[in-house]
Symmetry: C2
């Protein structure tokens, strides 16, 4: 099923213990689209400025991503982020954020983008997520990401946006903050219990919660049960920027590529594995470099490795007592 | 194979968001022994003071733990720890530590304790760990825990102790601190490369590294490969005290219960699963309460659940590109 993603398209300047790179192609929609492009057709909706280059567009073109809804704003500047990671890559500091054309962003979806059966609302203002969501009322699968800023400043809108989607993908700390529940399972169950207020008959609220846990992997919580996967272990991580969006692209993309399957835990678990593997490639190099030249067989090989790394023989011995 | 454990036997006063308990039975050797007792015979070596009660000893007796090498020091006071956990249980503050009889502790192992084929050196001064290790030169499997204090104050002794054992069980942050390597896989590989200095022929250094990751689970790194397991998900965690030692007890105990098996990753992975399950019971109630009344079938049931929670179908689709 075709996927529409709405979110940021950015230039990132990133410093990690392994080096610094200036004005790389980045942004949530870009990282998501590149990852999802391995599974299905992706349509990107978002604004760029006049400074956005054709080389950058070519990275998306090369992965056959539909860029016709990338709006070039005359006289505008592309969203810019400048950040630096600490020695273990688990902490990061933002030195500068320039919203540029993102400041007055009002998503404009073409007929084609509105016709997608799968929608990913990357981390943008919840009001905009709701607005986009309403333009694809018949989408079969809708997922959403967000961040602490919106939890702190516009929580009501965020909760409304969450109740309008099927799948919530958040960092585990954000799930805790959002729900006020320090326990991850309890926090996820809380989100799964949310229903749209005054929603139409059949409106159901989210049925899938994915907690991203950074270097520790990710957990999946549904009414059916719990599943967790470690991150694919890497001896060298160069740049974690975009790992979460790449993960989301792998997850949502894999689901989109299975239109005839019910949204069972079995499907979701396989999607989690593909998400994990895509994210592992993303962090191996700066920006989009690694995923942009990734090939299918590399994904398949790493899926097999991840599978082997998470298996144990389930037969317990009879304990004493 | 019988297991000897050397470490603290303590009174713990613990405050968590769920309540406060005074002077409970605790200590690394106690938590370890209770968990390991589900798998094999356990012999505890450690000192207590005159204040140590028979009720506390009875908890160990009840699990058929051999307490004959628990030394009651005349006029002494039992090791005491007073700590408090933050709202999400991931941070903790120590209000008070009174070493008591632990201050001048010189481990005295009976012939019986020295005859064990498996040894666990709980978190004590590395010099003492080395001294105990030398008293069981023919032990078939030796594991060790430690903490940041020893990394900071007596790193050389700790490295010597590590090179004298088969298996190192540390928190992931401690592994990073110990090796100066921020990447977990790299840190573990570094430890696996350590060899005893001036060691006798055949002395080989550790072959198993287990990184405890708290609520995220644990990872196993050996020359054979990488394995990771999430923590068993619980909606209510009451008291994390002793979770790491309970984990170690499950791990080492399971290995001890399989004397005819080679120390392969297959065995170690099953041991990790049992360790994870034992730790999950430990945190469900204060102190040793839950594990003290745990029954074998409960362990078996949770192993099956953990297994079900970590499986995914490994067959990937053919990605586009």
């Amino acid at each position: 099923m075709p996927i529409t993603v709405v979110g940021s398209i950015a230039y990132d300047t990133v410093k990690t213990p392994f080096g610094e790179r200036q004005r790389m192609l980045g942004g949530a929609a870009v990282h998501f689209a590149l990852a999802a492009s391995f599974f299905d057709e992706v349509r990107v909706v978002g604004p760029v400025g006049e400074d956005f280059g054709s080389d950058q567009l070519e990275v998306l073109h090369h992965r056959e991503v539909d860029v016709s809804d990338i709006e070039r704003v005359p006289g505008g500047r592309t969203f810019f982020w400048h950040g630096e990671y600490g020695w273990d890559l688990n902490s990061r500091e933002t030195h500068d954020t320039q919203l540029g054309v993102f400041e007055g962003f009002a998503p404009k979806l073409s007929e084609r983008s509105r016709s997608s059966e799968v929608l990913f609302l990357a981390n943008i203002q919840p009001e905009l997520q709701l607005q986009v969501r309403s333009q694809l009322p018949h989408a079969r699968f809708v997922a959403l990401d967000s961040m602490n800023l919106w939890i702190e400043t516009t929580r009501d809108s965020l909760v409304a946006a969450i109740t309008s989607v099927d799948c919530v993908i958040l960092n585990d700390a954000e799930l805790r903050q959002l729900t006020g529940k320090p326990n991850l399972v309890a926090a996820a169950r809380e989100v799964l219990s949310w229903r749209p207020s005054g929603g139409s008959a059949g409106a159901r609220g989210p049925t899938v919660v994915v907690a991203k846990q950074g270097e520790y992997g990710a957990a999946l919580i549904t009414p059916e049960g719990f599943f967790a996967l470690p991150a694919y272990p890497l001896e060298t991580v160069i740049d974690p920027t975009g790992a979460g969006d790449t993960f989301a692209g792998g997850l949502v993309g894999y689901i989109a590529a299975h239109p005839t399957e019910e949204l069972t835990d079995d499907l979701l678990r396989r999607a989690m594995a593909h998400a994990t593997v895509l994210a592992s490639f993303n962090v191996e190099e700066f920006g989009t470099d690694r995923v942009a030249r990734l090939r299918g067989p590399e994904i398949v090989a790493r899926i097999h490795e991840l599978h082997a790394m998470t298996q144990f023989s389930g037969a317990p011995l009879a304990p004493r007592g």
